[in-house]
Symmetry: C2
Subunit: 109 residues, 2 copies
Amino acid sequence: MDIEKNIQICNLIDTYERLLTNKQRDILQKFYYYDNSLSEIAEEYGTTRQAVSDLIKRTEAILQNYELKLKLNEKYQEILSLVNDVLYGDFSEKEKRKKLNEIIDCVGA
Amino acid sequence: MDIEKNIQICNLIDTYERLLTNKQRDILQKFYYYDNSLSEIAEEYGTTRQAVSDLIKRTEAILQNYELKLKLNEKYQEILSLVNDVLYGDFSEKEKRKKLNEIIDCVGA
């Protein structure tokens, strides 16, 4: 499995899982978090590997579409990076205040 | 018009408009941002006041459902309040660092 893609999908599941159906969320979690195989999931749901694979691909596309539109993970990364700069970075007081104001811009106030 | 509700819907439109269709977004903006009447919008779209009113109600429910699930506006308000405390509040350095860490919790890192 492509580890980078795996991490990206896990982040998308974390952020947008409440917009999925229970079935979509459960199957993606089994596959991506708990590393269940397509066959194991298919057996559990009484369906075929192909059907599980299709559902996973469709659900990934749904998650990626939410990120494309809301860009929450991108925004969260930006906020995290700004907060970490203020907490741990070697910046002047003025620069830190600038970064705090950038967080306000980021949440679109 | 109920001003408080108006502000709330405008905030929801700002946050989730990219999840609406163009028509849903345009009609809600005309109604809530530009204060067009149902009749004006109905005339522009060649439809009835009732159809416009129904579309607005349905779209408001969609927006409220997104907020119920993602709670972005709630989260943004929390982050804003924490950043403002750090920028302008009368807190010790230790308390400010605590508030910055709460922002990190808030974006779910």
